[in-house]
């Protein structure tokens, strides 16, 4: 009994530093923003905290009534629905290429494809803005960033280019973890390259897929810097994302209560998205 208690105490002592950090930097801020989201904390409250009022769910109700909020939600869902799968497919394709036995200079290509991930976004955005402004002779002129229909796609293209290298590395790791015996056995059974990919590689990559698709979805749900730098959310809010809306509410109009409410809507969106994906994940092979 005495030993058990001593062990317990030791366990708590060992846990304490981590628990303290998580409480201070994770739990408390979340709690604070939850409280913020049910107040009307604004520029007046900044001058004197007493000017903030408890407003219950009014921030949330106001959001649902704001057309701009729905525009931002719609755009964000578009980013997730189009950018997410595109990004995963490009990463997988690149991973298969750099992992192929036929490929030479593998480390070189891995490094090259990973370069955009570690490049500053603002620098990249300026280059892409320039590229989108170029008019190549012989091709139809598209106003990539000025046209309401193309602008979202232009943002997605740049974002995919910027980030596929990271997922590619994860896929490469996943591919290298596939036991060679499985391929050998499939070969003996007379499986074609396509069949091997379909029935060996894909099922073996199941957990990697789940991880990559969830993190990519979260990434696109939180898309901010790309539209902020390239289009400021325009034209006509066509590229305006939910995080940009939160940022404007918070730091342009200083409606921190409303911004906190948007943060929780975003949280709910990501939670639901992750749960749905986890549920439909490919069955793990034994």
């Amino acid at each position: 009994m005495g030993i058990e208690r001593a062990q317990q105490r030791a366990a708590y002592a060992l846990l304490a530093p981590a628990a303290l950090l998580i409480t201070v930097f994770f739990a408390l801020p979340i709690l604070a923003s939850l409280i913020l989201s049910v107040t009307d904390f604004d520029i007046y409250a900044l001058a004197a905290p007493g000017n903030a009022r408890f407003v219950g769910v009014r921030n949330y109700a106001d959001l649902l009534r704001t057309p701009l909020f729905w525009t931002a939600i719609g755009n964000t869902l578009y980013y997730v629905a189009v950018g997410g799968p595109l990004s995963v497919l490009v990463s997988l394709g690149a991973a298969l290429l750099v992992n192929s036995k036929l490929t030479r200079f593998k480390p070189f290509f891995r490094a090259v494809y990973f370069t955009p991930v570690v490049t500053t976004l603002v620098a990249v955005a300026i280059i892409w803005k320039y590229l989108y402004g170029l008019h190549l002779p012989g091709l139809p002129a598209i106003d990539w960033l000025g046209d309401r229909h193309w602008a979202k796609l232009a943002i997605i293209l740049m974002s995919v280019w910027k980030s596929f290298g990271y997922n590619m590395l994860i896929f490469v790791a996943g591919l290298q973890a596939v036991p060679q015996e499985l391929y050998d056995a499939a070969l003996v059974d007379g499986a074609t390259a396509v069949q091997r990919f379909r029935h060996v590689t894909l099922p073996q990559l199941g957990p990697t897929f789940l991880f990559v698709s969830i993190t990519t979805m979260i990434g696109y749900t939180q898309l901010f810097a790309e539209p902020y730098v390239m289009t400021q959310g325009g034209p006509l809010h066509a590229t305006y994302s939910i995080v940009e809306y939160m940022y404007e509410q918070g730091f342009r109009w200083w409606q921190l209560g409303s911004a906190a409410a948007i943060a929780f809507v975003l949280f709910a969106l990501i939670l639901v998205g992750s749960l749905v994906q986890a549920r439909f994940r490919p069955a793990e092979t034994s």
């Binding site: 007046y44 900044l46 000017n51």
Partner: protein, 407 residues
């Protein structure tokens, strides 16, 4: 002299030297966008004429200036002196972030501009440069711009033809409808700026005039992102006039062929029929402010005084084209050299401040949103103005609560 005495003496000398050393202060100045670049050229002379004061200048980008200043306030990192858009002064004053100022020579400044820096009886900023809106128009098409609304409207009908609009007024910019409302003398808010007042007849008249320009096909219903290059389209004869500010004198001159310069000029805003001319326009621009938390108030005051002296304002104009807020500076031959800036001189005697409340920018954007919806036919004028009142009342709810509770 003993060694001890020598030591004491040298210590005393060191001690005497110290006050001089602490007089050496460094003040931090934040300036925005282009001004942030050119002010650098004005500072060496200040440091030379004010020994012991050093200025560390930081340029902040125009698009992020407001956020950066507010976060600096929250993070306790405000500079000593900053350039502040005069429509932001009310906001920063309500945070008690600004130090009241007591300058000697207010009489030299344009009264409308001076007024934007005052809240009640307190002055929070010294105008640094001014900004207002006038009409840019094709002189070869219209020898003289009419000075009142009805003849102006008729002139627009005359210059419009297939392929060319009379007026360019991007539907997502609030300045044109707001300037027309200022000309009508429309009080956009009522009861100490606690409620929207957009269904009032004067605002209604301005709104109607603005909407009719689009309805009659005199102005295209386009937003500013849909216009590839407004300078080029002016040169290509796609529109004959527009309402814009001083920065565009330089832009329209630079971006169009030199020969085109003779074909356009500027004029003050036409006034509503029967009103004295010219009509009123926006009292915009930037001011220099001192932050309350600044530990070097005297040095900061000296810097503001220096930058707002006529000689420096003239230099600022030469470097950037920013218009000076002091009437005496306009006497200089440099100011009279470009006939296209003279319309601004006439207009500056007739500029009106927008309501001085923190919510004003949000309200102006709301006005543009409803004007755009009406132009595009989604709302009738009556419905738009009622909705505008409703939305603005909602924006001002906190302000009413604050006033009821005696803040």
């Amino acid at each position: 002299m003993s060694r001890g005495a020598a030591l004491a003496l040298s210590l005393a000398l060191v001690a005497c030297g110290r006050p001089a050393a602490t007089r050496d202060v460094t003040i931090r100045l934040w300036a925005i966008g282009r001004e942030g670049e050119v002010v650098r050229q004005l500072l060496p002379e200040f440091e030379r004429t004010h020994p012991g004061i050093h200025v560390r200048e930081q340029q902040i980008p125009f698009t992020a200036a407001h956020e950066k200043l507010l976060t600096a306030y929250v993070g306790n990192a405000t500079p000593d002196v900053a350039q502040l858009g005069n429509s932001w002064i009310a906001e920063f004053a309500s945070l008690h972030a600004l130090e009241p100022l007591h300058p000697a020579d207010s009489a030299d400044y344009f009264p409308g501009i001076w007024e934007t820096n005052r809240l009640g009886d307190t002055l929070y900023g010294i105008p640094w440069y001014v900004d207002t809106r006038v009409v840019f128009y094709r002189r070869d098409e219209l020898p003289l711009l009419p000075t009142t609304w009805t003849p102006w409207h008729e002139a627009m009908r005359r210059v419009a033809r297939p392929g060319r609009y009379a007026l360019l007024a991007p539907v997502n910019e609030w300045a044109t409808p707001v300037v027309l409302a200022l000309e009508q003398g429309a009080p956009m808010l009522r009861d100490s700026d606690q409620y929207g007042n957009f269904e009032e007849p004067r605002f209604r008249r301005a709104f109607h005039f603005y909407i009719s320009l689009f309805r009659d096909g005199l102005a295209p219903a386009v937003s500013n992102v849909a216009i590839a290059n407004r300078y080029q389209s002016f040169g290509n004869d796609e529109y004959a006039m527009t309402v814009t500010g001083p920065w565009d004198v330089g832009e329209y001159t630079r971006r169009l062929p030199p020969a085109f310069a003779d074909r356009w000029t500027t004029a003050p805003m036409p006034a509503p029929d029967g009103d004295p001319t010219p009509g009123a326009s926006l009292a915009g621009g930037s001011s220099l402010v001192i932050f309350h938390r600044s530990a070097h108030q005297d040095a900061a005051r000296a810097l503001i005084e220096y930058l707002s002296a006529p000689a420096q304002q003239l230099k600022l104009y030469a470097l950037s084209g920013d218009l000076p807020p002091r009437r005496s500076v306009w006497q200089d031959s440099i100011m009279r050299a470009n006939p296209k800036t003279l319309a601004f001189r006439a207009q500056l005697d007739h500029v009106v401040a927008l309501p001085k409340i923190p919510e004003i920018e949000q309200i102006c954007i709301t006005i543009a949103n409803y004007a755009e919806a009406t132009v595009r036919g989604a709302l009738t004028e009556d419905a738009a103005l009622a909705a505008l009142d409703h939305d603005v009342d909602h924006i001002l709810e906190k302000r009413r609560w604050m006033m009821r509770h005696g803040h």
